[in-house]
Amino acid sequence: MKTVSVSSVSKRFGSVQAVSDVSFEVFPGEIFGLLGPNGAGKTTTIRMMLDIFEPDSGEIEILGGRLDEEKKKRIGYMPEERGLYKDQKLEPTLVFLASLKGMSSAQAHRDLEDWLKRLDLWEHRSKEIKELSKGMQQKAQLIATLVHDPDLIVVDEPFSGLDPVNTRLVKDILEEQRRAGKTILMSTHQMNQVEALCNRIVLINQGRSVLYGEVSEIKRRFAGNALTLQGQGEIPPLPGVLDMRHQNGAWQLTLDENSDPQEILRQVAGLDSFQVERFELTQPSLDDIFVTVVQEGRLSAEVANA
């Protein structure tokens, strides 16, 4: 059963088309990446999902239907614009936010003890939030997102402001939530984290969905006709290979668009001058894909405007 279903959703603010015909689905037990450059429409999409804005058109279903007051209690949201009551003490603030999510005060105190200890904030629970470091406030915000054990977790840039140790801790917590069957929707610019955590992604650019699917499949799709070969010896010019470079102890082969990588492998394997040790289709990083897609989008927009 889908936890989130966004179907052909559009939103316009005055003369700006913020989101146009965006669709995606998110399922239990997966970490889904909502990606895009600044101003692409990610936050607007999240705000429409969470009923802060109403879409101009399209359908959104959360936890099996329209979002209502009861379903809101099953959602944990960490917005990009972080915020807690700066002049208040940490623990009472978290208890208040948990009580709004339907937890009793006693239960909230019990569960918060575990979370505060785990995230090294227990000693700081009686401090005013403004006294905490940025990283501590970030962790406090994560606790506010998770303390009521939500089924749907929406986190916007969860790693910003965290040191490597805390980044690892947050990653572990998100993985743990995923293993527990929770649905996690994560919006971030940190592509290495997306590659490490996300099963599937949607990339939004200029309000439109430009990439959607499994990370491995998308990477395969963008792999193009390029090969990486590692081995001993020299490779002579081969038919169907446009370019061949030796970099960092491996050969990078660029094939023409009609060449079959398997055929090239067979040719190389038959060579006496080269002994194959490793053969793989060259896959671009998500970072490369992100940049390529966004730049193509800009180029198209410039051409259209011209």
């Binding site: 429409g41 809101k72 917005p79 009551y85």
Partner: protein, 411 residues
């Protein structure tokens, strides 16, 4: 409803724990206590408590001296010589001399050194003399004579009256009106800050994905109203205790009665008046990205509530003046004008009813509008609403009966 309560409780506990609230709330009782203490101290240290003598060869005061209990101790002397010796010796502060022919002359002589006895002592002697002179009369006539005149000024149509025997019952509601309005306006700052806080500290997005904007605004308004009522209750209780204590030292205050009618009207108008100012202030706080800009506009609204203060004299001289009738009916000026005119007893029922209905209606509209503006402005961090767009969207909302407004926001 539960969420509204949680927000209200959170807002209440947050505000009453603030140092500024504690200081401002305690400042008033402290002020009353200090004034009371200084007054009592001055009264005790400057009042001459020595007895007063009298010389009464005709025995006129004999009857009164037995029946009358006064704060002043009166000591009889056989003749003027012995009284004067006591005065010179400082045993008494003054003495009265009733000549032998007092029943005919009706004149009494008062002897003292540098300062005449204070008014209370002279009142006590007059009481002693009056009781003595009335000693042989019928009890009813005697009582009526001793009570003296009771002047009641009443308007020709009988609606307004002024009882000179109970002047403080007239002044008190007037003073309390100012207390009420200043308390309500004082809370306007909190109301303005209430929504600006969540915008500035960015918690609004978390709250809005948990509760709806109506619950948030209603909870905040109720919480802050409870704060205002707490402050007002502390002040009124202190004032009441202060008056009870002051009665022991200040005779005219003893005729004070609890103005139940006034309190009833104040309670009736308090809620809608608070709703109106809450709606206006929260709308202002929601419309402006920063507190400072909001405070400037909020100050203008405050002025609208305080306009009747500039016409206080008119309330005394002509409480039915057409301008005051307009102020009574106009929502922002209704609360203060009604309370001030009630003190003068000159408020027709039809004006009271229409004023309350208009005030309640405008309070409901202002709260609803604040909700719409809040929804539009809540995510415009650091920006002001585009008012042209906002009015257009509001008009759309009214036409479409509740569909949500769209606004220009960051993506």
């Amino acid at each position: 409803m539960h969420n509204t309560f949680l927000i209200a409780r959170h807002e209440y506990l947050l505000r009453v724990a603030k140092r500024s609230f504690i200081l401002s709330t305690l400042a008033m009782p402290l002020f009353i206590v200090v004034i009371l203490a200084v007054t009592i101290l001055v009264a005790l240290t400057t009042t001459d408590t020595r007895p007063v003598g009298y010389v009464d060869p005709a025995g006129i005061l004999a009857a009164g001296a037995q029946d009358v209990e006064t704060n002043t101790v009166f000591i009889p002397f056989d003749d003027a010589r012995s009284a004067q010796d006591a005065l010179e010796a400082g045993e008494i502060q003054a003495f009265y001399l009733l000549p032998q022919d007092y029943p005919r002359s009706r004149s009494v002589e008062l002897y003292y050194w540098d300062e005449a006895p204070d008014e209370d002592i002279q009142d006590d002697f007059e009481e002693l003399l009056s009781v003595s002179l009335a000693a042989g009369l019928e009890p009813d006539i005697q009582r009526r004579m001793l009570q003296g005149p009771h002047l009641m000024v009443r308007s020709a149509d009988g609606r307004r009256e002024l009882d000179t025997a109970n002047i403080f019952s007239f002044i008190l509601p007037f003073g309390a009106s100012f207390l009420f309005i200043f308390t309500v306006i004082g809370s306007a700052g909190y109301l303005l800050q209430a929504v600006a806080d969540e915008k500035e500290n960015r918690t609004v997005e978390i709250l809005m994905t948990t509760i709806n904007h109506r619950q948030l605004l209603a909870g905040k308004a109720l919480g802050l109203m409870a704060v205002t009522i707490t402050q007002l209750a502390i002040w009124l209780v202190t004032l009441a205790i202060g008056l009870l204590v002051a009665q022991r030292f200040f005779e005219p205050l003893r005729s004070l009665q609890v103005p139940w009618g006034y309190l009833g009207v104040a309670a009736l108008f308090f809620l809608p008046a608070y709703g109106l100012i809450a709606g206006l202030m929260m709308a202002t706080g929601a419309a402006f990205g920063d507190l400072q800009s909001g405070q400037q506009v909020g100050g203008l609204f405050n002025l609208l509530f305080m306009v009747p203060l500039f016409f206080s004299v008119l309330v005394f001289t002509n409480p039915d003046h057409p301008l005051l009738v307009i102020f009574t009916l106009f929502p922002t000026t209704a609360f203060l004008t009604v309370l001030m005119r009630w003190g003068m007893g000159g408020l027709p029922l039809w004006q009271l009813v229409i004023s309350w209905v208009l005030l309640t209606g405008s309070a409901l509209v202002s709260v609803w509008l604040s909700g719409q503006i809040f929804r539009m402005g809540m995510l415009m961090y650091g920006q002001r609403i585009d008012f042209r767009l906002a009015f257009r969207e509001l008009a759309d909302v009214i036409r479409n009966r509740g569909s949500r407004p769209a606004v220009q926001v960051e993506r």
